[in-house]
Amino acid sequence: MIPTTTISMTVNGAPVGPHEVPDTLPMIDYLNDHLGLTGTKFGCGLGICHACVVIVERGDGTRDTERTCINGAASFDGLKITTVEGHADGATLSDVQQAFVDHFAFQCGYCTPGFVNEATLMIETLKQAPIPKNEIEATIETALGEHICRCSGYVRYYEAMRALIEQDPRLTKES
């Protein structure tokens, strides 16, 4: 018998579960195959490319990103998860999503869900703790630097975020 665990969580604002899943089931498989949310992408399976990143909100309200290919679904039990499907409000894209499409940031788009989640968290963080304008580029490099994109050379992803940060006075402060 496969050892199993019963899990429940909130995904994109909706409660899911309880579901009985194998202890070893990766979170990405839970999202893709149990919940049918295929926006979260499998890239390497080792947690290196970061295509599979989602946003996780813990019980204390703190939010972070997590890789779903190397973390089991059981480790997300009780948490609030936001996947790429959870950002747009109907036909209205989030600011990060809109910035990415406006800048032609991606090409094949397979890595985009990971970038959307990571960049969204970065913007949320800046709202809490604005940065000097001369640190914008370094901040983007740190936040998005682990995400692999094979098509774009990263330029337009980064330029989109720089423009978004520069145009929102809440995200920066005087040096």
Binding site: G43, G90, Q97, G109
Partner: protein, 954 residues
């Protein structure tokens, strides 16, 4: 953007008789003939887009922030932008059986067992690592395929599964397919298999069956007194030359030299004479390089996968796939099951195709879909999903060819003029035939890059090995050879103390001059402008100042700048495309094209192309739909790359015949060929629908209305803010024009086929009493209704069969200046800035062009400095490779904030768009190497150049 290619021209001067060229493993039978035969076996094929893709309509786009606005000729963002940024199901990997209408809901899951050995005998599966609870529900072996009379044929011919008792033909050869009907058991079993390393067992030492070289050719040219021709001898003039035989099954042996003969011996004689002149100094000062390039993985972000269901009651195989070459893949599956027993009989294949999460060539004629089909055929009527993980993708996915290039250039030392170019190319194609023979040819014909050589002799061979299969990848062999050429030319500049730009200008191929195959390239060659602009780049102009500033601020680092410039072909020499454009009564423009979107933006580019003729962007762009092209009733026969003139003349008497119906997304043909078909369809609507509708509106009223006072011609027409005007006439918005065209029964839709063999097929049609000739060979029109009326061509002119000898005709040029810093103590390299100059005709969507350039630069940096795969036992075929040990450039490896692109303005607004997805990757590689030489004084001749290599050189 990237490249299938080219069933290169068949040697016609006798070499083909005693030295059959091999493409795939079927000597004497070319790829296309085999594939067509498989379809002729009675299996019908249908291609469909996936459900989400077929609905890329305005309804999917947010109204307030859409990718287009009515009347706007500029794309606001990609057609697929909203879908991709919101995570919609658009990739084949996203689909499960429950997503497909009329399929069973439950999905079974399959995994391939790969051989991690190719030097031992395969003894069978050891399932003990799985435990009793995770034993697969179905195991498919070579015995099963044999019993069912299922075998890969034609282009894909290979032993699909290694049989017990055999030595695998190559590292990573599949040995079995396992299927689990329960997802949780499947994922658990996979984890155990991964922990176990492999469940394929091996015994005594064995010898893999070597299939011999995949192909070889010799390209020899001797110019006459003029660069523009006629030549004394060339592939175009005298035919392509293949080897007489292969020595020990490996090295090509060329026909004995016969200076006065008519056969391939002339090429040998001229080639040997050139090499002797280089050796004895009569060809000038000689510079040479032996350059080794590595095997690399495509690392498209979406690993290959597929979903398939065999409906035995209807003898139908349904498949969801993500490939660059849908038609070829379905034909390959059809060939595989052509003789299958009753239990696995297939009469119809229904293929659904998704957007690709990257392709780069690696999803062109990939064999993975055949395994998806196999899984379904043996799954007991259940839909099956087979999705490679990244380890498996490394183990089995198509690789870039490792090539060794031995080059020499003779130069007149006083003038710096090149006299002679020789090269010998050795390409490692791995253990399964794919495009290796063709890649070897393109590597050869691309080797001269931007230069003119009065004499050239290039031999090329694609060899088999026990390595993982190599195939098409962005650049298609030219990345390797052009890099070597650009390093060698930089060495010549240093050796002769000539400015590198000046040396290149002195020796560049001029418009009208003949290239290495003996062909004048299409259109004007603008290399000089590219070089001029590149030389003015601040990274180059200010390099001495920048070096001083940088090294003052960064002690321990050496700053250097390198440059390179290349000219890359696009097209395959037999490109067939389909397009339809329809105008609704309210002016909505709907496009359908036989295109696959792998990320380059072809669907967006097609939408933009419509604006040139119709004043605004298309509203919808659909990929292939089943039966959409039936109104054209097209038929095809023969090999479009090797057909004889007599056969073509005979076949073309049938007004439904075309040499090639459709082509893969490859060879950077999207902007040029696919977009041209849309352009012509839109032109037919403008000429025979909108123009008469406009005349009718402008002549309304007393005494001929507003038009009576001017002589308005078709040439006067202009679009202004989405309205048609000209010669002072009232601008008429497209919806009003469309409504009038529908009301009058004028042409409101055009569906056409176009064919390009280094030149366009042209045909004449009678449209509403007017003879119209265009670069199309089949045409149907709509006249105010959804029905298509097929028009017979009244005359047709296909490019002559001899055009195939051209080998390369369409070029785009790109140069790069790279600034880098080398750590003097640790040998580290940081690319600090890249400036590229590109010539690509008319840009369809500038943001897509620059995006391709930026991605190409990143991929080039990876190729030059990071990416490397051992070819054999330590390489990816052993199943242990993933991104933890294969370094794909991250943003920190790329000068994200210092990457710039200049694109030359077109000569006029009528310049055709040129393929540019491949060329933008190439120059950055030799520019880095030339920068490293500047920084270290050492010429690195083996890729990648690692930190350790540099440290040792320092």
């Amino acid at each position: 953007m990237d490249s299938e290619r080219r069933q290169a021209a068949v040697p016609e001067n006798g070499a083909g008789c005693d030295a059959p060229r091999r493409t795939g493993s079927h000597a004497g039978m070319n790829r296309r003939q085999v594939l067509k035969a498989s379809v002729a076996g009675g299996i019908t094929i249908a291609l469909s887009p996936l459900p989400a893709l077929s609905a890329f309509t305005a309804s999917l786009q947010p109204e307030e922030k859409g990718w287009r606005k009515d009347g706007d000729r500029n794309v606001r963002y990609r057609v697929d932008g909203f879908a991709k940024v919101t995570g919609r199901k658009i990739y084949a990997r996203d689909y499960r059986a429950a997503d497909m209408d009329s399929w069973p809901d439950e999905t079974s899951h399959a995994a391939i067992v790969f051989a991690q050995e190719a030097a031992k005998i395969y003894t069978g599966l050891d399932l003990s690592a799985l435990g009793e609870d995770l034993v697969p529900d179905i195991v498919i072996t070579a015995k099963d395929l044999h019993a069912a009379d299922i075998a890969a044929t034609g282009f894909f011919a290979t032993d699909l599964l290694c049989a017990e008792g055999q030595t695998p033909a190559y590292l990573g050869q599949p040995t079995a397919i396992l299927i689990w009907h329960d997802f949780d058991r499947f994922t658990s079993a996979r984890l155990r298999m991964q922990s176990a390393g492999s469940i394929a067992s091996f015994g005594a030492t064995g010898t893999p069956a070597q299939s011999g070289p995949y192909g070889a050719n010799r390209f020899t040219r001797v110019a006459g007194s003029n660069p523009e021709g006629p030549d004394v001898y060339s592939p175009v003039k005298d035919g392509w030359v293949g080897p007489a035989r292969y020595q020990k099954g490996e090295a090509p042996v060329w026909s004995p030299a016969k200076p006065d003969g008519q056969g391939p011996g002339r090429a040998t004689a001229y080639g040997e004479a050139m090499r002797k002149a280089l050796a004895d100094g009569t060809a000038g000062q000689v510079f040479g390089i032996t350059f080794e390039t590595q095997s690399v993985d495509q690392v498209f972000m979406e690993p290959e996968s597929g979903l398939a269901w065999y409906d035995a009651s209807k003898k139908t195989l349904n498949a969801v796939l993500g490939v660059q070459s849908p038609q070829a893949i379905l034909e390959g599956i059809a060939g595989m099951v052509a003789k299958a027993d009753t239990a696995h009989e297939v009469r119809h294949i229904e293929g659904h195709f998704g957007y690709l999460g990257g392709g780069f060539g690696g999803k062109d004629h990939t064999i993975v879909p055949l395994y998806v089909a196999l899984a379904a055929l043996f799954a007991g009527g259940r839909p099956v999903r087979l999705a490679l993980n990244r380890f498996e993708q490394f183990q089995f996915g198509l690789k870039r060819h490792a090539i060794t290039a031995d080059m020499q250039i003779g130069v007149e030392p006083q003038t710096g003029m090149f006299t002679t170019f020789t090269a010998d190319l050795d390409c490692n194609g791995g253990g399964r035939a794919n495009f290796s023979a063709s890649v070897a040819d393109v590597a050869a014909t691309g080797a001269p890059s931007i230069y003119y050589f009065p004499k050239s002799d290039v031999t090329t061979v694609a060899k088999s090995s026990r390595g993982v299969c190599a195939g098409s990848m962005r650049g298609y062999g030219t990345l390797q050879t052009m890099t070597a050429t650009e390093c060698l030319v930089d060495d010549i500049a240093r050796g002769l103390k000539i400015d590198p730009f000046a040396l290149r200008r002195r020796n560049m191929l001029q418009t009208g001059a003949l290239n290495m195959t003996g062909n004048p390239a299409s259109g004007m060659i603008r290399t000089k402008e590219v070089l001029d602009r590149l030389e003015q780049a601040s990274l180059w102009q200010n390099r001495d100042r920048d070096k001083t500033v940088f090294e003052w601020a960064n002690s321990g680092y050496t700053y250097a700048v390198g440059m390179a410039c290349v000219m890359k072909d696009f097209g395959t020499g037999a490109d067939g495309v389909l397009s339809s454009v329809s105008l609704t009564t309210d002016g909505v423009i709907e496009i359908t094209g036989n295109v696959i979107e792998m990320g380059t933006g072809i669907t967006t580019a097609l939408a933009a192309r419509a604006a040139r003729r119709l004043g605004q962007l298309a509203t919808t762009v659909r990929t292939d739909e089943p039966a959409h092209w039936d109104p054209l009733q097209l038929v095809s026969s023969g090999n479009p790359w090797g057909i004889s003139q007599a056969d073509q003349d005979e076949a073309s008497k049938n007004p439904r015949w075309v040499p090639q119906i459709s082509s893969p997304a490859s060879a950077s043909i999207g902007a040029h060929v696919n977009a041209a078909a849309v352009d012509q369809a839109a032109e037919v609507i403008r000429r025979f629908g909108l123009w008469p509708a406009a005349q009718a509106i402008w002549s309304e009223g007393q005494l001929g209305g507003q038009q009576a006072g001017e002589f308005v011609t078709y040439a006067d027409l202009r679009w202004s803010d989405g309205a048609l005007t000209g010669a002072g006439m009232e601008p008429i918005p497209l919806p009003r024009l469309a409504a009038r065209a529908h009301e009058m029964g004028l042409v409101t839709g055009a569906m056409l086929h176009a064919f390009n063999r280094w030149s366009w097929a042209t045909a004449e049609f009678d449209i509403d009493g007017t003879r119209w000739r265009g670069p199309v060979d089949a045409l149907a029109v709509q006249k105010g209704s959804a029905d298509w009326q097929l028009l017979d061509r009244t005359s047709v002119a296909f490019p002559s069969a001899a055009m195939e000898r051209v080998g390369v005709n369409y070029y785009s040029a790109c140069g790069a200046v790279v600034a880098l810093a080398v750590g003097r103590n640790d040998g580290s390299v940081q690319v600090l800035g890249v400036h590229q100059v590109l010539e690509c005709g008319s840009q369809l969507v500038p943001e897509l062009v620059s995006g391709n350039s930026e991605g190409g630069i990143a991929m080039g940096i990876g190729y030059a400095l990071h990416e490397d795969l051992p070819l054999y036992e330590d390489g990816p075929g052993n199943g242990t490779w993933n991104l933890n040990r294969y370094h794909v450039p991250k943003a920190a490896d790329v000068p994200v904030w210092n990457m710039t692109l200049e694109v030359l303005d077109p000569l006029s607004e009528t310049d055709p768009p040129k393929g540019m997805g491949e060329v933008v990757m190439i120059p950055v590689v030799p520019a880095i190497l030339n920068g490293l030489r500047e920084a270290t004084g050492h010429r690195f001749t083996k890729l990648p150049v690692t930190q350790d290599d540099i440290r040792k050189a320092l």
